[in-house]
Amino acid sequence: MKRVYAVEKLCLNCKLCEVYCKTAHSKSKNVIKAYKYETPVPESRIFVEGDNTASLAFSCRHCEHPACVEACITGAMVKDPETGIVTNVKERCIGCMTCLLVCPYGAIRPGHIAYKCDLCQGETTPACVANCPNHALVYIEGGSEK
């Protein structure tokens, strides 16, 4: 399946991916409104780690056998058998963070519910990739599944 991959040497630590991820997951989809006027403030599902010497943006790997899906106690975390996208169904998540406890990548963000990358469900290019000014994020086929 297509996934978001970070190209570490190109990352500028600018965090625009986080800004546009939040916007893409906001109600208004407007970069200003999403930050200034929405409550709760939308959460980013991609995280830039590191500093100005070395950094990269990291998000859910949409694992072939996702530990988060297996561990979810409510059935909220699901992997779409067709697209492979791992999504947390927000209506069913109770925020216990068992998914976060078992994600070996640290790709889930705690909050009232668990927040994670959904590959901008249905978009041709996820917002983080589309708005990365230095092409440090790419959206390409990868992984071991057929």
């Binding site: 297996e70 106690i73 078992v102």
Partner: protein
């Protein structure tokens, strides 16, 4: 092939998924003594406090049974197994034949004998949907609630009931709350948290006598203190439900003993979930790991083996993610053996972090109020990663940059 699965929860359902994948023409029958179809057991406290409705308690929807060729038998108990004839007998006399049988019967409450305990209508346990419903129907605002047991179940019952009743007391016999998953410091933090929510607790004390004629009216505690009680929850602990396994004649040691394929001592009878004995990979001991993720994981492995795809269970380790009155608690592995492990810890007003380290590897941790990326710590425990290879301290917020460039490239591209 005919598969019979006893138990309609985490382990049983995850086994079905793997059976269906590996043996598409399978015939699966699930037997459950509950009147409800599957539901998420950890959600019963959320139901009690009205955070989750009855309709949203399901763990897998009804389409799941259709999709996986499952015949579901509810409100009927498997009472006997004839492992020679390969038949299961149900309480109503139905006989089911099987090629492969899975015992995934979970846990049952452990209720220690207390003087004066009969079948008073205001004594409850807290493990099933029925328990939660009965408590919800019985509880009234002005009732004095006493919960015996300050572990996970007791505290979750307290949290659920706190929405309804204003006077709740938790009794914990040991010197700290959540004794199996926290140290004293962590327990004190939780104690403060529940106290600020209005729940009282007593440590080193328990109920030694129940007083009252037709219902519980008061309790005499071990300390001699007498406290009034209108609603009593017995939440001392759970034990593996091995009644059927015993009838089948499989080898037990508190829980069901299996090999690494999760097959019991009797051919073609498998076991998974809270009713089994698991290998704790941290200390090498065999123990009951009554944990949701372990049950799902075991169910999956058992299901694959039952369907003829060899799959190994290499053990697991204790881990818990819980929120108590809004405070997030993550714990894993060794948390309270400060003399035998190197300890790194930091505590502030907002959070508590503690790591138990041995031979340059992480053996366990406590994270209170800082759940961020706990899974990375779990992976360090599971992979026995040499901590000296990390770029940065364990006490710093952990992330992918803690790993070497080679390692993090592997993590990014290796899925």
């Amino acid at each position: 092939m005919k598969y019979v699965i006893i138990g309609n929860s985490a382990a049983g359902l995850s086994a079905c998924e793997r059976i269906k994948t590996n043996d598409p023409s399978c015939e699966i029958t699930i037997v459950s003594e509950e009147t409800y179809s599957n539901y998420s057991r950890p959600l019963i406290s959320y139901y009690l406090k009205d955070k989750v409705s009855k309709e949203n308690m399901f763990y897998r929807d009804e389409a799941f049974y259709l999709k996986n060729n499952i015949e579901l038998i509810l409100a009927n108990k498997a009472v006997d197994v004839d492992s020679v004839a390969k038949k299961v007998v149900l309480a109503d006399g139905t006989v089911l034949s099987y090629d492969k049988l899975l015992i995934a019967t979970g846990s049952i409450p452990f209720v220690p004998p207390v003087e004066g305990m009969k079948d008073q209508p205001n004594i409850f346990t807290f493990l099933s949907m029925k328990d939660s419903e009965q408590i919800k129907a019985y509880a009234k605002k002005d009732m004095k609630v006493v919960i015996v047991g300050g572990g996970l179940i007791g505290l979750k019952a307290a949290e659920g009931l706190n929405k309804i009743c204003s006077d709740i007391t938790v009794l914990e016999l040991s010197d700290r709350l959540l004794a199996t998953i926290l140290d004293k410091k962590g327990s004190d933090i939780i104690g403060n948290q529940i106290a600020s929510a209005g729940v009282k607790y007593l440590l080193g004390d328990t109920a030694s006598k129940i007083q009252g004629k037709d219902k519980v009216e008061s309790l005499v505690l071990k300390s001699g203190k007498i406290i009034p009680c209108d609603l009593l929850v017995m939440a001392v602990g759970v034990r593996p439900n091995v009644e059927l396994a015993q009838k089948a004649g499989v080898t037990l040691n508190r829980g069901i003993i299996t090999n690494e394929y999760l097959e019991t001592s009797i051919k073609d009878i498998f076991a998974a979930g809270d009713c089994t004995v698991s290998l704790d990979v941290i200390d090498g001991n065999h123990k009951i790991l009554a944990l949701w993720p372990n049950a799902v994981f075991q169910g999956k492995i058992a299901g694959e083996n039952m369907a003829g795809k060899p799959s190994l269970y290499n053990g697991n380790f204790p881990m818990n993610a819980i929120d108590f009155f809004g405070l997030q608690v993550m714990t894993c592995g060794v948390v309270n053996s400060d003399d035998d492990y190197e300890i790194k810890k930091v505590e502030t007003e907002q959070f508590y972090k503690k790591f138990s380290i041995k031979d340059d590897t992480l053996a366990g941790y406590i994270l209170i109020g800082v759940p961020e990326r706990a899974g990375i710590y779990n992976s360090l425990v599971r992979d026995k990663t040499k901590l000296s290879t990390l770029q940065g301290d364990l006490l710093d917020p952990i992330g992918i940059m803690h790993f070497t460039q080679e390692e993090r490239t592997k993590k990014i591209y290796g899925v």
